[in-house]
């Protein structure tokens, strides 16, 4: 089982209490494989006693449960079973957020967001965190592409509002993993409100984070056996306390979903 997680990354998947891990991705170098490794690491290594059990709340704004279900099955995780045993909950921010005529949710542990209003979103999240943490155990919150809510939410969603709600939610959980896009046009240009909001949000997160993992494409073009580069650095929070960390690793995602992570020249 441990071979499914690349050894070089494994040490970073452990989440210390009240930590924030920021994963940034760009077009062509998606963060999904890394999120799946976090899921795998948290859910598969279960302790015997219920108090130390790890539970995961996954909220995804541009991918639905079918995607996560299919890809985590390759890693040996059965999300449906985990939902049934209340170790995993999914908040769907894709299917109902901006499209009409959606049937209401039928199952517990799988929540469909139907509005982009911020207090509603955080209310749903709080509720599912509470229902997950019933019976002890620590809850890990993974939010996939919260930046979409900021970009598409319009006037009802502001950077300050999102950051405030995020802090409130982080108080309720053991640790948080966030994935955010960090494409150059979204971060560097800063001309339209869309771009300024995005870069403000991302910078704010980077300062709060304990660990930042940024994925990008290979700078020197494409190669057959390299999908991209993952740069692992201490976030703003950890840097203040004097810890320093900086690694640049290459990764390769095979067609079968197997991921290799290796140093340059290895």
């Amino acid at each position: 089982m441990s071979t499914r997680i690349p050894p070089l990354v494994e040490s970073y998947l452990a989440l210390p209490p009240s930590s924030l891990v920021l994963i940034t991705s760009v077009l062509g170098a998606s963060s999904n494989w890394l999120v799946l490794r976090f899921l795998h690491h948290a859910l598969l290594k279960q302790g015997e006693d219920a108090q130390n059990e790890t539970k995961v709340l996954l909220m995804s704004f541009i991918r639905n449960l079918a995607f996560w279900r299919e890809n985590s099955r390759r890693l040996g995780l059965d999300l449906d079973k985990l939902i049934a045993s209340k170790k995993f909950a999914f908040v769907d921010g894709l299917s109902g957020l901006f499209s009409p005529n959606q049937a209401p949710t039928t199952r517990s542990g799988e929540i469909l967001l139907r509005d982009s209003e911020l207090s509603y979103v955080s209310g749903e999240l709080q509720q599912s965190i509470r229902s997950l943490s019933e019976g002890g155990g620590k809850v890990i919150m993974i939010i996939d592409q919260l930046d979409l809510l900021l970009a598409a939410g319009g006037d009802q969603v502001s950077v300050e509002g999102v950051c405030d709600k995020l802090l409130e939610l982080r108080e309720l959980v053991h640790a948080t993993v966030m994935t955010v896009s960090a494409d150059q046009p979204l971060v560097e240009v800063r001309q339209t409100p869309l771009e300024t909001n995005h870069s403000a949000f991302l910078l704010g997160l980077a300062h709060q984070a304990d660990l930042a993992m940024s994925l990008r494409l290979l700078d020197s073009g494409t190669a057959r056996d390299v999908s991209g580069v993952v740069r692992i650095t201490a976030g703003g929070q950890a840097a203040e306390s004097g810890k320093s960390l900086e690694r640049d690793l290459l990764y390769f995602v095979g067609g079968d979903g197997v991921v290799r992570v290796f140093e340059r020249g290895q």
Binding site: N64, L97, P185, V189, L194, F252, G254
Partner: protein
């Protein structure tokens, strides 16, 4: 059709499950991906099908964003092929922003396509003998493409059992729309231009999304193709449509529908890059919300005629009319993306549009240097002039 009938006869009368499974396979224009067996449909352009990360078609439940710089409309041609293939296969077509007149200009099915494709199949083998070893990599791409090309035809020649996956179209012909064709058109102008610009909440997209979702939920056995030509073009869309809240909510809603009906729906969108350059946040969000992103960069028209002469005379093939860049491929990049194998991701790709072959995408290679052609004992001027004329003619 005959395939279905035979299986009904052979299978025992009691087995209902098997029959219903067969019916699913028999949806016209759908074939399983050779990689993982998921259902794919053809984009109507063979070389584009071959480009999509080894799936040999556009996987159902995914979308393609085709960006194009300059004033040409190669992306629009790709959309027309995509629509024409859909009409021929009996799929539902949903167009946003254009009227019925657009559908009257779809390319018609080429007559006697079998002969030309058979001669094409032989060609790569000949080519391989001639090319130097250092072009082996480019050759591989060609072989892969030839396999794509070959597969439907060989099965076709063995009997009419398997239907054609991707038809040959002729740009000079017009497709006669059958009376059963399911074409849906939605206008984007929600009222008079002056009215809509005042009301920021008046989205030109909401009607389209709600219509699409009702049609999808009411007809579960059909394949649907969504076509959105030149999204955000001021000629078709009111000015409030490029507000992030309105546009991204629409694309997010479309993505939700694609994921909700993963065996029924695909979408293709073209975006004029000159109006919305790639270094803006809005364009990047549009790309992030699409499954596949291709960028067409046509050469300036003067460059075409200058390059025609050596290119066409030396290799007997279309000179490239522009470069194609792959920024993202459906499914492939969602998983994390592998290397460049079989995907063309990061390769230098060029495209050429011709009347019969449609849009052909192939690895870009520079034509021989002018001096070389002269050293080979230059050709008479009339030959090159002819080639130029033919190319401009389409």
């Amino acid at each position: 059709m005959s395939f279905r009938k035979r299986s009904v006869v052979v299978s025992q009368p009691g087995i209902i499950a098997a029959v219903s499974k067969d019916e699913k396979v028999a949806v016209p224009g759908v074939r399983p991906s050779p990689l993982d067996g998921r259902a794919t449909i053809s984009t109507g352009t063979r070389s584009l099908d071959g480009l999509l990360a080894g799936h040999a078609g556009l996987a159902l439940g995914t979308s393609l964003l085709i960006e194009e710089s300059g004033t040409t409309d190669f992306g629009g041609v790709l959309l027309r092929y995509y629509a024409a293939e859909g009409v021929v296969q009996g799929h539902h077509i949903h167009c946003l922003g254009v009227s019925e007149a657009w559908a009257r200009e779809l390319p018609g099915v080429a007559a006697a396509g079998g002969k030309s494709s058979r001669s094409e199949e032989k060609k790569p083998v000949d080519d391989k003998m001639k090319i130097a070893w250092r072009y082996e990599r480019l050759g591989e791409f060609g072989v892969g493409a030839a396999r794509e090309r070959g597969a439907p035809h060989t099965s076709n020649s063995s009997g009419s059992a398997t239907p054609i996956f991707c038809h040959d179209f002729d740009l000079s012909k017009r497709l006669t729309l059958p009376s059963t064709a399911q074409l849906h058109f939605t206008a984007t102008q929600t009222g008079s231009i002056l009215d809509s610009s005042d009301d920021p909440t008046n989205s030109p997209f909401t009607k389209f999304i709600s219509q699409l979702s009702t049609i999808l939920s009411s007809s579960p056995n059909y394949i649907h193709r969504v076509i959105i030509p030149t999204i955000l073009s001021p000629a078709l869309y009111p000015c409030n449509s490029s507000q992030p809240a309105i546009l991204l909510q629409f694309l997010h809603g479309l993505r939700a529908l694609l994921r909700k009906y993963p065996s029924q729906l695909t979408a293709m969108i073209t975006l004029p890059l000159t109006l919305h350059p790639r270094n803006t946040g809005l364009t990047r969000w549009m790309e992030l919300l699409s499954d596949g992103v291709l960028e067409l960069a046509p050469f300036p028209s003067t460059a075409i005629s200058a390059k025609t002469a050596p290119g066409a005379s030396a290799m007997h093939e279309e000179p490239p009319q522009g470069m194609l860049q792959v920024h993202r491929l459906p499914i492939f990049h969602e998983k994390g993306g592998g290397g460049g194998e079989a995907s063309g991701f990061g390769d230098d790709l060029a495209f050429a549009l011709s009347r019969r072959k449609g849009l052909v995408i192939k690895p870009f290679s520079l034509p021989p240097v002018e001096g070389d052609a002269e050293a080979q004992g230059g050709r008479p001027d009339s030959a090159s002039a002819k080639a130029t004329k033919f190319d401009i003619e389409y």
